[in-house]
């Protein structure tokens, strides 16, 4: 079963708040954790994909105009309180396993090396019916 695990971050002052305010050692510890987590998922064969996304200021919204050409405007995050910072796509045997992996991501270390216990959104990736 495939699941997408999504990490959201507070929009307000993304670089002034959160990771932007931690001491260098804590930033390094967080990065090291994320890299180790990625490797562990790769080793266990559960990783499909994992990516960080560009910051909210770099987001754009595209709509097609009458002729099908792209009309580009600023991202949708002006009024939003949060934005999608990154995601993992995992392939696991059960929902319980998806929740267990999400809990590991949630416990990533933050300031003072204490676990962040941040909320991780978990949604199943829809799949085609099994081949007969």
């Amino acid at each position: 079963m495939k699941f997408m695990l999504m990490m959201h971050a507070p929009k307000a002052g993304w670089t002034d708040a959160g990771i932007g305010t931690w001491p260098p050692a804590d930033i390094q510890a967080h990065i090291a954790f994320m890299m180790r987590f990625y490797d562990e998922l790769k080793q266990s064969g559960e990783l499909v994909d994992a990516q960080g996304l560009a910051g909210p200021e770099e987001a754009r919204v595209v709509r097609a105009d009458a002729g099908g050409a792209p009309v580009v405007t600023d991202g949708p995050f002006a009024e939003a309180k949060e934005f999608l910072a990154g995601f993992w796509i995992i392939d696991v045997e059960s929902t319980a396993q998806a929740y267990a992996i999400a809990a590991r991501a949630s416990a990533a270390p933050g300031k003072g090396a204490t676990p962040l216990n941040m909320p991780i959104e978990v949604r199943q990736v829809m799949s085609a019916p099994p081949q007969e």
């Binding site: 993304w14 670089t15 002034d16 990771i19 932007g20 931690w22 001491p23 260098p24 930033i27 390094q28 990065i31 960080g52 560009a54 910051g55 200021e57 770099e58």
Partner: protein, 295 residues
């Protein structure tokens, strides 16, 4: 650099009687030895190029032929790879493969695409060049001039990619800045010469990255304050305004100039704008380090 160190050893072996000018003799012998090695390397590359680009063998000289010093096949290959029919990404990939000697897997990793995708891209690029019927020979001055813009652009894209990519050690091999490569340590870099080279390059290739790199060289020669002053007009208008590298360079210069508060802010702005995850992590860490130094 390694080639040069290697060549000193045989030249220093014991001899009967001292030459009139031992230093001159040492330099002369080492230079001859280095030239021989370079010629052998060029011949080897030419053989590899024939195979790599699937060209007809009659285009290449016999394996043991002495290639005249003014025919640098690396340059020919580079000019060929920067073919106008290729898109810049394809030209870069082909250049890294044919000139840089990277494997397809390494190039795919650098571009964060699957290996089969990169293999296809390089195959298509090779096919385009083969279809163009251009032989592996020194390009005419007219042709060289046409391609110069493309060559410089590809070199700078490679240089800047190598500077920020995760696969640092691999991509350092394609660092075509010969002056940088001559320095045994970063502190020994001949910055005045680099500044002069960038000055020339800016006149040939109108590229905002060249301008930014020239400002960096300027700051290394004339100081951080001079660099910051040179940066100011780049922000106002043009292709660099709001670019993450502009903020990153400004941040480094502010830090060197001692304005740590402004430096931290600029590092964070750059971190928010860069599309490179390793670069973002570096910039955030740098901001935090600067903050630590302030308190």
């Amino acid at each position: 650099m390694q080639s040069r160190r290697h060549c000193w050893r045989p030249a220093c072996s014991g001899r009967d009687g001292l030459p009139a000018s031992p230093r001159g003799w040492l330099i002369h012998v080492a230079a001859r030895r280095l030239t021989d090695e370079i010629r052998a390397e060029i011949a080897r590359r030419r053989r590899e190029a024939v195979v790599m680009l699937e060209m007809t063998p009659e285009a290449a000289p016999p394996p043991d032929a002495v290639v005249p010093a003014d025919q640098d096949d690396t340059l020919n290959l580079l000019v060929m790879c920067c073919h106008p029919a290729l898109t810049r990404p394809s030209a870069i990939a082909l250049t890294l493969r044919a000139v840089g000697g990277l494997s397809t897997a390494e190039i795919a990793r650098a571009f964060l695409v699957p290996e089969p995708t990169m293999a296809q891209r390089i195959s298509r690029a090779k096919a385009s060049i083969k279809a163009s019927g251009i032989p592996l020979s020194r390009p005419s001055p007219v042709k060289l001039n046409d391609r110069l813009d493309a060559v410089l652009h590809v070199l700078y894209l490679i240089f800047n990619e190598g500077y920020t990519a995760t696969g640092g050690a691999t991509l350092q091999r394609t660092d075509l800045s010969a002056v940088h490569a001559e320095a045994a340590r970063a502190e020994d870099t001949d910055w005045p010469q680099i500044l002069a080279l960038y000055g020339v390059l800016e006149r040939i290739a109108d590229n905002p990255m060249v301008t930014l790199n020239r400002v960096v060289a300027q700051s290394m020669v004339h100081g951080a304050a001079a660099g910051l002053k040179a940066l100011a007009p780049l922000d106002v208008a043009g292709r660099l305004a709001g670019h993450h590298r502009l903020h990153a360079v400004r941040a480094h210069l502010l830090e060197r100039a001692g304005d740590r508060a402004a430096a931290a802010t600029q590092y964070r702005v750059a971190a928010g704008k860069t599309p490179s995850l390793p670069e973002q992590r570096y910039l955030l860490t740098r901001a935090a380090v600067v903050d630590t130094l302030r308190s």
